[in-house]
């Protein structure tokens, strides 16, 4: 549920990330997914589900960088 405009990233163990209140999916590959300011690196990455509010990413995560 959308409660404010701040982007929020939640990590579930090392294999699932949910990003809420995102604005733009900038890039996607098996090793890197870029959503707004978050650069997620890992292996076998894929977007399981996406809608106008959230993105659910599955795979083996290694690093989350904040890029500006």
């Amino acid at each position: 549920m959308k409660i404010n405009n701040k982007i929020k990233l939640t990590i579930y163990k090392d294999d699932k990330i949910v990003i809420e209140n995102y604005q733009e999916l900038k890039d996607i590959s098996e090793t890197e997914i870029l959503v707004d300011i978050y650069q997620i690196q890992g292996t076998f990455l894929k977007i399981k589900k996406m809608d106008n509010y959230m993105i659910e990413i599955l795979g083996t995560m290694s690093t989350i960088n904040i890029v500006k």
């Binding site: 604005q23 733009e24 900038k26 890039d27 894929k46 996406m50 809608d51 106008n52």
Partner: protein
Amino acid sequence: MRGIKVKVNAKESSKLSKKNINNIKKKDENLIFYTDESGIKDLISEIENIEYENILKKRIKYFFQKHLITVIALIIIVILLINQSVAITEIRFINYNTYDENVQSFLENKLKKVGPFYYLDDSLNNINFEIKSEFYDYEWISITKNGAYLDVDIKKQKVPGFEDVDDGIVGDYIASRDAIIKAYYVKKGIIFIYESLYVSKGDLLVSGNLKYHLNEIEYIKPQAIIIGEVLEYKSIKVEKNITRTERNGNLIIKNHLSLFNKPVFSKSPNETETEKKDVLNILDFIKIQKSYYYEVEEVKINYNYDEAFTYAKSLIRKEFPDNDYEKIIFMKLVSYTEDDNYYDFKFIVKKHENIAQFVPYNQE
């Protein structure tokens, strides 16, 4: 349900933002994912170079392309099965010796032909109603549909004592005793009697010789029942004191185990009368039987005159056939003697009975 598979260039990834999308994967320079009808409409308006296909339609198309012959064969089989359950291939008279040409043609008129198949032109209920009205002389007539067969169930009127069996032995019916003819039913044969006619034992009643009046011989087996009024004397001797073995009402139930048809651990009680029922039987190797032992004892019966008289009458009634045509009109005591051991009754019995006695024709 995400029913549409979409392929777009990976550079267009930002245009996918905020869309309802599942399972995005990058393959070569393309992104492959699934969306729904509204999602694809939005994407088409934003992305020029886009490929998409409806998965359900694709799968159905693929299935029919791969299994076209199987599907056609299945449809044909289903149509044939449905047709078989509706069509009629044969009219069968299910009871022995009940074929009736009129019934057959009646039913054939109720069939309509479409190509090589025949179908009923009315409901089974209506045809059953009509056939019962048309052939009312049968005790029972009905039709049922059994697969592709139309089964006709006919039960003919039964006359007690009259057996509609032609075993090929030709001959005549003669009187088995002196009598006055009261009724007769002749299905086959030449009739020599009429009602109230007095006949003596041995008189010809119905002949199987069809050319009797032409002084020629052509025999069949006649079929007839002839009821005559008969007077007869009957002597019945009743013992005054008798001893009988009868069940006294006590019952013992026991289970017995048998292996290879040989009893194991079984001790039977001394009671003589036994009934056995199988409780378990595995190929006669292992058997468990429930045995019912009825206790019996000797019963002494002493008849007085009244009891002996009733018993004697009951013996006469017991040996006489009990049906609609044959009956005892009256039974009167003519004489009675008694000694130390027996009552001796002599009755005169007036009765209606079938006096037709079949005598085979001797061809020599």
